[in-house]
């Protein structure tokens, strides 16, 4: 149920650009991240949420503890083999539309630890929208990634991430 099914059924001729812009603007400027702090990048994520480098200017300071109220998952830290199913479960329990930022080298590619214990990149189990290099990346890098994600959300309009 939803407008986008209606739009697809009409073969996309119907003009939904203005509505899409408004929806994209609304979603983009209030991206609520789910607290998925794992390791060192989580400390930098907390530092981003504090007054020094204020993530509240981008509408994302409400770091929701439960995935039900979150629409962005910032995977900040290294994902171990034991944590992978938990990460997938939390990702599944987030309502659509949802996005994923893979913060730091460990989340993106396994980083310094290329061994048996780590998942070599979180994109093996969840679709990732924005990768951030760095170990840990500076808080400003996280804001930069958030701004890139906001442009992408605004461009997606009603349909959200495919």
């Amino acid at each position: 149920m939803g407008v986008e099914e209606l739009v697809e059924s009409l073969g996309n001729q119907v003009l939904t650009t203005t509505l899409g812009k408004v929806v994209g603007w609304g979603r983009g400027n209030s991206v609520w991240p789910a607290q998925f702090g794992l390791a060192c990048c989580a400390i930098e994520m907390i530092a981003t949420a504090t007054a020094g480098v204020d993530i509240a200017r981008f509408g994302s300071e409400a770091m929701r503890a439960s995935p039900r109220q979150a629409d962005l998952m910032i995977v900040s830290g290294r994902v171990s083999q034991k944590m992978a199913p938990v990460l997938r479960t939390v990702y599944d329990q987030m309502p659509e539309p949802k996005w994923v930022i893979s913060m730091g080298a460990c989340a993106s590619t396994g980083g310094v630890f290329n061994n048996y214990a780590l998942l070599q990149g979180v994109d093996k189990i969840v679709p990732v929208d924005v990768y951030i290099p760095g170990c840990p990346p500076r808080p400003e890098d996280l804001l930069n990634a958030l701004m890139i994600l906001q442009e992408r959300i605004k461009a997606q309009g009603i349909k959200g991430p495919q």
């Binding site: 083999q81 034991k82 396994g110 630890f113 290329n114 061994n115 048996y116 214990a117």
Partner: protein
């Protein structure tokens, strides 16, 4: 303070005093050390001497118990060499409560079975993990990195280590 008949060998390595003990009477040795004032178990771990050419080792697995005397500030390291399959030794969790998790971790990463440990299950690895990662014949794993001969060596189990 440790009964002489238990000690197989005694020495100092880089400033740390160590004592080698037979695995059968590890409990007696630790009990006598504990009565002698070494009440704190700093850590307990295992070292795998597979294909270790630097010195001759009586057995493959060397269990290391590091004890500390809080009053006299001394440290002593008790070592026991174990080599059966599966390697097993008595548990000392009732003498030193911190040993409970240390033994579970040593079992998890090395496969050393500690007899009559209350709950000898994996503590760090997922429960259905196969193999004991910190053994020398367990490859480092991870993904193969192109153009890095270092990493190719990690993939294969180090036969000559």
């Amino acid at each position: 303070m440790i009964a002489e008949n238990l000690v197989v060998e005694r020495g100092v390595s880089a400033g740390d005093a160590w004592v080698t003990v037979e695995p059968e009477n590890i409990r007696a040795a630790l009990q006598s050390l504990k009565d002698g004032g070494y009440r704190m178990l700093v850590f307990l771990t295992c070292v795998d001497h597979l294909a270790d050419s630097s010195r001759t080792w009586p057995a493959r697995y060397e269990l290391v118990y590091q004890l500390r005397n809080l009053d006299t500030k001394e440290l002593v390291r008790v070592r026991a060499f174990v080599d059966s399959d599966p390697p097993h030794i008595d548990s000392v969790h009732d003498l030193f409560p911190p040993a409970n998790w240390d033994e579970r971790e040593t079992y998890d990463l090395f496969g050393i079975v500690f007899t009559d440990h209350p709950e000898l299950t994996r503590i760090l690895m997922p429960d259905d993990w196969v193999g004991h990662p910190l053994r020398r014949d367990y490859p480092v794993g991870g993904e193969v990195v192109e153009f890095s001969e270092e990493h190719a060596m990690w993939q294969t189990a180090p036969d000559e280590a």
